[in-house]
Symmetry: C2
Subunit: 168 residues, 2 copies
């Protein structure tokens, strides 16, 4: 591509491909900045209003969906971080009385981590606020536009998953 530019022998297809490249790059930068801005806002509000970080909130969100609780390794897998990190986060949340480790009958190596009643109550309140923030931050888009955006991102997500599979 660079050679073609320099030698002034770009074909129409190359010109178009080149233009598309820049368009993709601009799209990516915009995608990144929109997402980061929303995420930073949410992160800041979680800290200010609930003194909680996003990873801790995410871990509680995982547990909220699983009343039976989850093992440390399952949490590690779902949050896509290594085990040591999960140990740290669970330690902190357990000190605050928001989650609890219970020994697993049948496997004395494993724990079943779940929300305490206090943790569940706290999380419900946070999640309600969190949802309101998201609605507010996405409100520049109409309902119809949000639906469109969701569909486009689904295509992107599925495509990415396929690409990952193919590269195995």
């Amino acid at each position: 591509m660079k050679l073609a530019q320099n030698s002034q022998q770009m074909t129409d297809m190359e010109v178009r491909a080149h233009a598309d490249h820049h368009a993709s790059l601009r799209l990516w930068l915009r995608l990144l900045s929109c997402t980061t801005r929303i995420e930073d806002t949410i992160r800041q509000r979680l800290r200010e209003q609930f003194e909680i970080t996003l990873p801790r909130f995410d871990l509680m969100a995982q547990l909220e969906r699983e009343p039976e609780g989850l093992s440390m390794s399952e949490l590690s897998r779902r949050m896509m971080v290594t085990g040591g990190n999960v140990t740290n986060i669970v330690d902190q949340l357990e000190q605050e009385g928001l989650v609890v480790r219970q020994s697993q009958p049948g496997d004395r190596r494993a724990f079943r981590v779940s929300l305490t009643p206090s943790g569940r109550k706290t999380f419900t309140a946070m999640a309600q606020e969190h949802e309101d923030w998201v609605v507010e931050l996405l409100s520049p888009l109409s309902e119809r536009q949000q639906k469109q955006l969701h569909e486009l991102l689904s295509t992107l997500k599925v495509g990415q998953a396929l690409q990952q599979k193919e590269s195995l």
Copy 2:
């Protein structure tokens, strides 16, 4: 909203608003996961192939657009991080010979930071690869879909900016 649910007196509008809330939340989670997946891939490849982190890459990208160089405080403003961090990153890049601090004639407090020839060459190679990765990662979307996505995100961005102004 919660009260309306419990008292079973939700109006049609409330029902719709409630559904929209969940839709917005799902949209946000999808937006976040798509962006994070792409960002993590790029971060990993930058580290593996060029031994560079995203903030360092971003700083070099800022300098690449400004052949005259930028002051530390201007870099701090553009990267939206505090001054001490910029000092650290510039220190590292300067040790590797990729950027250089030059004293500013007219203000002996300030520096003009710019890419060295080596830094420019290195960045050009990295940026080319980076652009290829972005094209690849966005390729599940057609050209037309990418344009659509870009427009939706523009609406979101402009709306966010307006909201920020209004909240001042």
